[in-house]
Symmetry: C2
Subunit: 343 residues, 2 copies
DNA sequence: TAGAACATTGACAGCGTTGTCATTTTAACT
DNA sequence: AGTTAAAATGACAACGCTGTCAATGTTCTA
């Protein structure tokens, strides 16, 4: 019933070490031997036992995905991406949600690592931006790949996957500008997040390039939540929209949805009286009314590349994956929540 | 740096087997010995190595969570619930998203099980309802716990956690009835899902108890998706709402949101002209406008109990967790999408 | 064609636990 | 106190694999 490396070895007529070499794709196995062994592997439908591999080897076959993110869509996408690569490479994934504010994060990490020695970690924002965590991991000698907001200029392409929020925000803002909007509000997330400052700078750069003067009063800092989107829209639009805002950039889809909600309460027609845009293209940007214009962020693809990058680091010479993309730029998706100014 | 069971044994002045007994909470360890060992465990901050335990032991310390569900909120909640129990009990979780239509599910399962022998599986709908899968698992001798839609009458309380959708639908429908609605439409999911028939029967029972005659034309079968909610509302409400529908029961929040969207397109005011209710109380039932009246389903708690049930089965005598709840009834949450009939 | 250099394979220990079974200690009886 | 049963502990192999290093095969050089 249970087939081990020995069974394969016996059937192939080689030592178990040779089978081990084959399944680990080690060099210096004759092509012919390789084929014989693979035949045996296939006829027996052999699956190497992960526990044994992790115990015996110096390297491990489990990777961790660490996140502290309230956005279910985001987490699922990241998870699926990493998982799909793991499956292909025979790794297993242990997920590790955590709460940065908990404080005992360090202990938490250590426990996780002791329990199952890890090949490496995929870190997602906002954890991936926390220097204290990075330092800790470096100190512990743990491999990791960070997914974070940034631009191609930042060249740590061995451990980072960048999401170019700057460019995406620039594009969305340009879209709004080309529609004729001049007074564009920005509902940003909290400034602790790198994505917030990146998106903000993209927004500002676009305005500048279109010779529109900046106005800090058009910027509202929230927390990337639906509620703060509601609050932000109320704050910015005020009683009678004194700032003559005709478009609102949501820091993410949730905030945009919140703004949509608030507009409704205030009796504002979207997009006739106000354009609203989101960010990320999560499923519910398609489930609002009207549907949100947003920037599509391919989280599943991003996380797949993050996993590939991790495997490349982890397995050194055995894996020279060359086609890893390390910078992703979310792309504009125009839907019904944005339109030309009527003014 | 790396502390093993031997280090603990040495410090405690006992054999490693005794330490093993202590960390596994085996009986027949003297209280005094137990304390000494635990002290050593704590001062050394010992964490048993999972790979070694899985390899050496007959039982395993990893559980699997299997799902084929497009709802990110649901999956995350289930995951977190199971994970929190795993953490407490020292288990690790491997998640296994799958696509039932893929066909090669069986192979898939077998591979997963071979790679890391599993203590057991937590199955979520719709997989948990698939008899072919259950049979397969029984045949393979794999422990599992199923989370599925059902009522207390069904008494497989050793392997099943029931979500009483029937009662919840009854309650929601009653809520609508008490508001004065008489012609209530139902946007149900596809009938393949047990939750669909359960919710449908609850709806029908409530109507019956209020002496309202049934009308199959008030029922639209969709797929639990936003889009099918849109379609359903259009179909039911038609050109001029010929059926005089004043309330619409969504099979889940997404369908309700879809119905909300469609109503908007048709210029129908919610809740003045039409009440709409959801099911599940997922985050976006709070992010629609108006917010959805729905039935709160505590998925995280449900999955925690599922995990506990699994552990009880798995560890037999060593674990006699008695406070496991095996039936959960989602509870009505009244928000702004439902109101009295104006007719 | 001998010998060196290199490529390929194998024997065996060891990874950190748990299971088995033997041994020692304690408790419970005459 | 002496015996016996039961409880508590320990010694050691085994889990299925990989790392190390030695052994064998192959190819190349002169």
């Amino acid at each position: 019933m249970k087939v081990t490396i020995n069974d394969v070895a016996k059937l192939a007529g080689v030592s178990m070490k040779t089978v081990s070499r084959v399944i680990n794709k080690e060099p210096s196995v004759r092509k012919k031997t390789y084929d014989i062994v693979m035949d045996a592997v296939n006829t027996l439908n052999y699956q190497p036992n992960l526990a044994a591999r992790n115990l015996a080897g110096t390297s491990s076959f489990t990777v961790g995905l660490v996140y502290d993110n309230p956005n279910a869509y985001y987490v699922i996408d990241m998870q699926n991406g990493v998982l799909s690569r793991c499956k292909e490479e025979g790794y297993e994934l242990v997920i590790h949600p955590c709460n940065y504010l908990d404080g005992n994060m360090e202990e938490d990490f250590k426990t996780m690592i002791k329990r199952s020695r890890l090949a490496g970690l995929v870190l997602t924002p906002p954890l991936s931006e926390q220097n204290s965590i990075i330092d800790m991991l470096d100190e512990m000698g743990i491999h990791y790949v960070r997914v974070l907001s940034g631009r191609p200029t930042e060249e740590d392409q061995d451990t980072c996957i960048y999401v170019n929020d700057y460019a995406a925000a620039y594009e969305i803002t340009s879209h709004l500008l080309s529609l004729g909007h001049k007074s564009i509000g920005f509902l940003c997330g909290d400034k602790e997040h790198k994505s917030t400052t990146e998106r903000l700078e993209g927004y500002q750069a676009a305005l500048k390039d279109h010779s529109i003067s900046m106005n800090d009063e058009l910027i509202y800092e929230g927390q990337y939540s639906f509620e703060s989107g509601v609050e932000g829209a109320k704050a910015l639009l005020g009683e009678n929209n004194p700032k003559n805002i005709t478009a609102l950039l949501g820091g993410n889809d949730e905030m945009a949805a919140g703004a949509l909600f608030a507009s409704r309460l205030m009796g504002i027609e979207i997009p006739q009286q106000l354009s609203i845009t989101g960010f990320e293209d999560s499923p519910f940007s398609r489930q609002t009314w009207p549907k949100l214009t947003t920037a599509h962020q391919a989280n599943d693809v991003i996380s797949q590349h993050a996993a590939r990058l991790l495997f490349r680091k982890t397995r050194g010479a055995r894996n020279q994956d060359k086609d890893i993309i390390t910078t992703f730029t979310p792309s504009l998706v125009v839907r019904e929540s944005s339109g030309p100014t009527t003014a």
